[in-house]
């Protein structure tokens, strides 16, 4: 059996195991056997509380982590390839900042101007946050895409994305300054990121959107492989570079925008997972890398979610702290590993 096939099987097994752990572990421990029973729908009156925990809380959270991790990793891989920059990630083009700005505007202004704190509005508030995040992200994406058709160099575009990020952060700072403490607090909590705040039916909207978008992004595999060679070689091999760049950036931005809207800005997953996969599978071929980052991203997000919810922590740690604590060492070790293999 091919070495890559073994890796794929191992990662798939890891995902299944992590899903079970995510369902079983937490402040209340549920034995594996009972988790199975609940999943398979065996009704047992004594397990009603457990059933509620699994179906209302842990299962939505697990599925959210699964698809969010996959989506962000694909987005990161696409960014790194299109910009041919190992430091590019979903947040680098200012898309997450755009989403943050959208959310900040609606959370912070609703209290100050509307006189009603959004955090108290329940379901309507949640939908409002999601919509504003998507609007903010799409606005930035529209700017980036328009400019991507005008400028030739990718570096200019990357710098522009970073600058848009700074501007968004600055505006958020101003908004915070004029807002009341309660709103600022709820914005800060949104900014910490979480796989668990997506509640009720919203989870399934999110999951369905991602389940449609992720396979769609697989359609760009050949385009991404050609882009590895740089604009000129890609064009010479028959690729319409402008159109391709538009498609890849749009795909990557939409994935980031939706994940950010539902989970908050999650850092490092999108940056770390592609690096990890390139080293693990020793290839740049996207026909291998795309499924690889999808699965690895899902697995890593599940693992981070598990760590954030480790028994002993009251409630849950902010997911961003966990992804950074796990993601940064991965990037560092991959960089050092590279150095070593170059010497040999």
């Amino acid at each position: 059996m091919n070495r890559n096939t073994i890796y794929f099987l191992l990662i798939t097994a890891a995902i299944l195991f992590l899903v079970m752990l995510n369902l079983a572990l937490g402040t209340i421990h549920i034995p594996f056997r009972d988790v199975w029973g609940i999943l398979l729908g065996r009704n047992d009156a004594s397990q009603l509380i457990w059933e509620n925990i699994v179906w209302k809380s842990r299962f939505p959270q697990t599925v959210t982590a699964l698809v969010a991790g996959a989506g962000l990793s694909i987005s990161g891989l696409q960014m790194q390839t299109v910009f041919r920059n190992p430091l590019a990630g979903p947040s680098e083009l200012g898309v997450s900042s755009g989403a943050s700005l959208g959310v900040a505007t609606i959370i912070l202004l609703s209290g100050t101007i509307g006189g009603a704190a959004l955090s108290r509005m329940g379901f309507v508030g949640e939908v409002a946050i999601t919509v504003s995040a998507i609007v903010g992200a799409m606005a930035v994406m529209a700017i980036i895409l328009t400019i991507s058709q005008r400028v030739r160099g990718n570096v200019v575009l990357l710098i522009l994305g970073v600058m848009i990020g700074y501007i968004a952060t600055a505006i958020i700072g101003v908004l915070k300054f004029f807002s009341n403490d309660e709103d600022v607090r709820s914005y800060v909590i949104w900014g910490l990121g979480s796989f668990s705040k997506v509640s009720g039916n919203q989870v399934y909207t999110f999951v369905v959107a991602m389940v449609v978008l992720i396979p769609l992004s697989f359609l760009l595999i050949k385009t991404l492989n050609l882009m590895l060679l740089g604009d000129n070689y890609a064009r010479n091999l028959g690729l319409n570079v402008k159109r391709a760049r538009f498609a890849v950036i749009a795909c990557s931005c939409v994935l980031t925008a939706i994940v950010t809207a539902y989970c908050g800005p999650i850092v490092f997953l999108g940056l770390a997972v592609p690096h990890l996969c390139r080293t693990l599978f020793t290839t740049s071929n996207h026909i291998v890398l795309m499924p690889a980052v999808t699965l690895t991203g899902a697995a890593l997000a599940l693992f981070c979610n598990l760590v954030a919810r480790m028994p002993g922590f009251e409630g849950a740690l902010p997911i961003n702290s966990v992804t950074a604590l796990i993601g940064a060492p991965i990037v560092i070790s991959v960089l050092f590993g590279k150095r070593r293999s170059e010497l040999n």
Binding site: I221, K222, L226, G230, L237, G238, N240, E342
Partner: protein, 337 residues
């Protein structure tokens, strides 16, 4: 046998931007033939790369016409041009974790389907390309571990896998050491014969181009592009005029360039063969012109494997190497001519 695959008619190349039009070169009319190695020579900044970029359809021409296989270049779609023209560029690829075979396989992209899956035909074309460039041993190496020359060969294999009748190369010999330069040019010449492709490249390596190219294009700012075999260009004086600069001498006998050395002393040199030529060369570097027909107070003679310096007063000095001779003639005031 040879047919012209590319025809340029009154072509003007350059850049168009908001400030206006900057013409790099104009009035270019020429043909490029199949089964030939054509070299484009010219100084830095004269527009060699611009010409290659225009011919590869990376940038639009300013005016005139470019016909590729009888059809105007602008009327080809990107897809069909990809099966006609392949390029090897100077830009250094920054690809990690990609094997040489995978890189060459990307050359098949214009022929592969939506997912880029390689069919048996594609695999065969890749094997053929790798074999033609003779890099079978590198096929499984990672591209980022290759030397400059090896990477250049891999890119040529990619271009061959693309299976186009035309290959453009932008300075394929840059960054290579001398033996690799020679090997590269010989490889391209061999390919032009073996595959009957049209190979057109720009280079700064005059000597190599003059010895290996079938056709030379001379590009400078004084006259339109001049085209011909290296031999014709040297006979009609185009080549010597082309690089007519102080310090460079075009040797019509060999059809090659050499560095010009002024001299301020003359000495009589008797002998023949390689040792004679080498002594002449060494003395000329030291500003001493040596020849048979010169009358000078001292005479240098090649006797078997040794060199004899005889003075008109009758003294004799024997030297075993040119280094010793130079020591006597150049550094010893006694023999000052």
């Amino acid at each position: 046998m040879q047919k012209n695959t590319i025809e340029l008619r009154d072509l003007a190349i350059g850049y168009r931007n908001r400030q206006g039009v900057r013409t790099v070169a104009q009035g270019i009319s020429a043909h490029i033939f199949s089964g030939e190695l054509t070299c484009l020579l010219g100084a830095n900044g004269i527009g060699k790369s611009t010409l290659l970029r225009t011919l590869s359809a990376f940038q639009p021409k300013l005016s005139g016409q470019i016909f590729i296989q009888g059809t105007e270049i602008a009327s080809y779609s990107e897809q069909s041009l990809a099966t006609l023209v392949s390029v090897v560029l100077t830009e250094k690829l920054d690809i990690r974790n990609m094997s040489v075979r995978e890189l060459v396989a990307l050359g098949r992209s214009p022929y592969t389907g939506f997912w880029g899956k390689l069919m048996p035909d594609d695999q065969a074309a890749i094997d053929r390309a790798i074999a033609l460039v003779r890099i079978e041993g590198l096929a499984h190496r990672m591209v980022h571990t290759l030397s400059d020359g090896e990477r250049q060969k891999a890119m040529i294999a990619k271009a061959l896998a693309q299976d186009t009748p035309i290959i453009f190369l932008d300075e394929p010999t840059a960054f290579l050491d001398f033996p690799s330069k020679v090997e590269m040019m010989q490889l391209l010449h061999r390919l032009s014969r073996a595959t009957h492709k049209t190979i057109f490249l720009s280079t700064h390596d005059l000597e190599l181009a003059l010895q290996i190219a079938d056709k030379i294009w001379l590009m400078d700012d004084r006259a339109p592009i001049r085209v011909g075999t290296p031999e014709d260009l040297s006979l009609n004086g185009d080549l010597s005029g082309f690089f007519a600069r102080k310090g460079i001498l075009f040797d019509r006998e060999t059809g090659l360039f050499r560095v010009e050395n002024d001299f301020d002393r003359q000495v009589r040199l008797v002998g023949h063969g390689q040792r004679y030529a080498m002594i002449r060369k060494a003395l000329l570097r030291n500003r001493i012109f040596a020849a048979r027909g010169i009358d000078s107070p001292i005479c240098v003679e090649v006797v078997d494997n040794r060199i004899r310096i005889s003075h008109c007063e009758g003294s004799l000095v024997w030297c075993d190497s040119i280094e010793e001779l130079l020591g006597e003639l150049v550094h010893n005031k006694l023999y000052h001519v």
